[in-house]
Amino acid sequence: MTDSPIFQAENLSKIFSTSEGDVRAVDDISLSLSAGDFVAVHGPSGCGKSTLLLMAGGLLSPSSGSLAIDGAAPYEMAQAERAAFRGAHIGFVFQQFHLIPYLDVIDNILVNELASESREDLAGRAEELLEKFQLSHRRHHTPSRLSVGEQQRVALARALIRTPKLLLADEPTGNLDSENSEIILKHFEEFAGAGGAVMMVTHDDRAKAAASRSLELASGRLV
């Protein structure tokens, strides 16, 4: 573990222009996540949690402020370069899992190979993750045949396939029962413990409790 932060945001703001005027979704947020950090971001609906997460993931350019992930500034990169950076350094987990319905478990996990320029062989790592998340017996099943807990574990395996430094999760336990939520949160803790950083947007108190740090967002600002 190093002291340099994995995620560093300085005065980050995002303003959306609407017909009713500008909406400041994220307002002057400075935030730093180091290796081992497992941060839960919570707040009421529309407070800017998802916007912050998307900006952190290199998917939504900030209106102002700066952002660095593992020492690199993704928004200073060209679009293709940023996509490649995202694939290599950031993992995403969503509330709705967003698995590709026509791919089986192993292909869903390996979909990240499409992002890789070098013909990186991720099969070994995929096997490791299947084992770790107890999905080996489901490798050739499509998402529709999986339980929600299994689906979320596949989504987590997909996020971790290229061993990213930063894991971003948007309501990862929102559709899970307590048992499956626990499993997922345990894996997040493990990931952070192994030197990664987790930023998790959640409404779930158990999830907040599992995090090492909890940040509350209101009207786009940290409170």
């Binding site: 998802s50 998307l54 995202r86 509330q95 319905p101 026509y102 791919l103 979909v111 499409l114 992002a115």
Partner: protein, 427 residues
């Protein structure tokens, strides 16, 4: 995980959308190949009709020519070549010319490349009294037999030559005098053997005496001279047969003139020429009609083919757009995990191109399968192999995927430019 796997799995998953795209391309390709074959069948049918007409006309012409040739042969010589200074009124009044020309003219003509006449027979004719037979009026004709035309195969002569010392007698002469073949008789103070006696013909032949040309020239005091060359006209290609013969003859023997006789044969020749002209006109009219019909079909094809192509492209474009809309979340996830927009673009274009290839294949196979059912009705009973060339099979397989990809270009661009943040935002 390769892009091709993603594409193939998605196709297998969303079969209906893909099959609808394939069906659209297949219909368009079938439409194109059917139109192409229709035009080809029409063209071939036109050629067959015209070829049939041409062959029929040719056969008719051959038959007519043969009839004319037989008529001409049956009726004997029908072309008379006289010296240029001969008064034709006298010929019509007397039945022969009084003026003479060199006998070499016949040889000269035979040695030339003349094609409009054949069976050349030089003769010297004079009407006189047969003093030894009570001053009977005779037409003495000196002949030497036909002069063979150098550049033609020898033909059997229409008239046999008369040997020296012999004569051939018309009916009135041998009947009136009581001569028969083998008898001896004196003509103009010279003794001759009767070689042949003709049956009654009811013409001036009945008072004609044929003898060898050399002897006739001696007896009539016209050495090396003749006053006519008889000939049989060939079947000339044009209606103006006489003009054609005259033009050719004048180049060889400018000091002569010709007349044509025996109207039955001429009427047949004219009828043949008229039949030929009528057949040619009929063929031309039919050709014009068929060409006009062909052009009409081409114009129709010119509308239908682009229409079918554009309709298929619009169809594929719409289905691709539907596919993009169905896959918005998937696109967002792929972008989030780092897949470049160019790859997303490729996914949608490849899918459309595959639909193009499959559609072209299906359209062509379908066409080949239903062809036998349609062959008799709309393809004029033509064989598939005669109507469809190799390029007709290969071109759709190359063009269809390109056009399908072009049709999916805009939807693919929409997919590639989809903002993942819009898709994945959960706020």
């Amino acid at each position: 995980m390769k892009l091709s796997r993603l594409v193939s799995r998605e196709i297998a998953h969303r079969k209906i959308n893909f099959l609808l795209s394939v069906g659209g391309v297949a219909l368009a390709v079938a439409c194109v190949i059917v139109m192409t074959c229709l035009l080809g069948a029409h063209q071939r049918h036109t050629e067959e009709i015209l070829e049939g007409m041409r062959a029929e006309t040719e056969a008719d012409m051959k038959r007519l020519e043969d009839e004319i040739r037989k008529s001409m042969k049956g009726l004997g010589f029908n072309i008379y070549i006289f010296p240029k200074d001969q008064e034709m009124a006298e010929v019509y009044a007397e039945g022969f010319a009084s003026k003479t020309m060199p006998e070499e003219y016949a040889t000269q003509l035979a040695a030339s490349e003349i094609v409009t006449v054949n069976h050349l027979l030089p003769s010297l004719t004079k009407k006189l009294k047969w003093e030894e037979q009570n001053d009977r009026t005779v037409i003495a004709i000196g002949i030497r037999g036909e002069v063979p035309i150098a550049h033609r195969d020898p033909k059997s002569p229409l008239i046999d030559p008369v040997e020296k010392g012999q004569i051939v007698l018309g009916y009135e002469l041998h009947h009136g005098v009581g001569l028969k073949p083998g008898d001896k008789t004196v003509f103009m103070g010279r003794e001759f053997e009767v070689a042949k006696c003709h049956e009654e013909r009811g013409s001036k032949d009945d008072i004609t005496l044929w003898l060898n040309l050399d002897e006739a020239q001696e007896l009539l005091n016209e050495p090396g001279r003749i006053n006519a060359i008889q000939a049989l006209e060939c079947n000339c290609a044009t209606i103006d047969r006489l003009g054609e013969i005259r033009a050719e003859l004048m180049k060889i023997l400018p000091d002569t003139q010709i007349i044509e006789t025996q109207s039955t044969a001429l009427a047949r020749a004219e009828a043949r020429n008229l039949a030929q002209a009528t057949a040619a006109k009929k063929m031309e009219d039919t050709k014009r009609e068929l060409v006009s019909l062909g052009q009409e079909r081409k114009r129709f094809a010119g509308i239908v083919l682009p229409l079918a192509t554009v309709a298929a492209m619009i169809w594929i474009g719409l289905l691709s757009l539907m596919n993009v809309r169905e896959r918005v979340t998937e696109i967002g996830v792929l972008r989030a995990v780092g897949v470049k927009s160019s790859k997303i673009f490729t996914v949608f274009l490849s899918r459309a191109a595959l639909a193009g290839i499959a559609g072209a294949g299906l359209g062509l196979i379908g066409f080949a399968l239903i062809f036998p059912l349609l062959s008799e009705g709309i393809f004029q009973s033509q064989a598939l192999g005669d109507l469809v060339e190799l390029s007709h099979w290969t071109t759709p397989v190359i063009i269809a995927p390109l056009l399908a990809a072009a049709a999916a270009w805009l939807p693919a661009l929409v997919a590639a430019q989809k903002d993942p943040a819009d898709v994945l935002r959960n706020d």
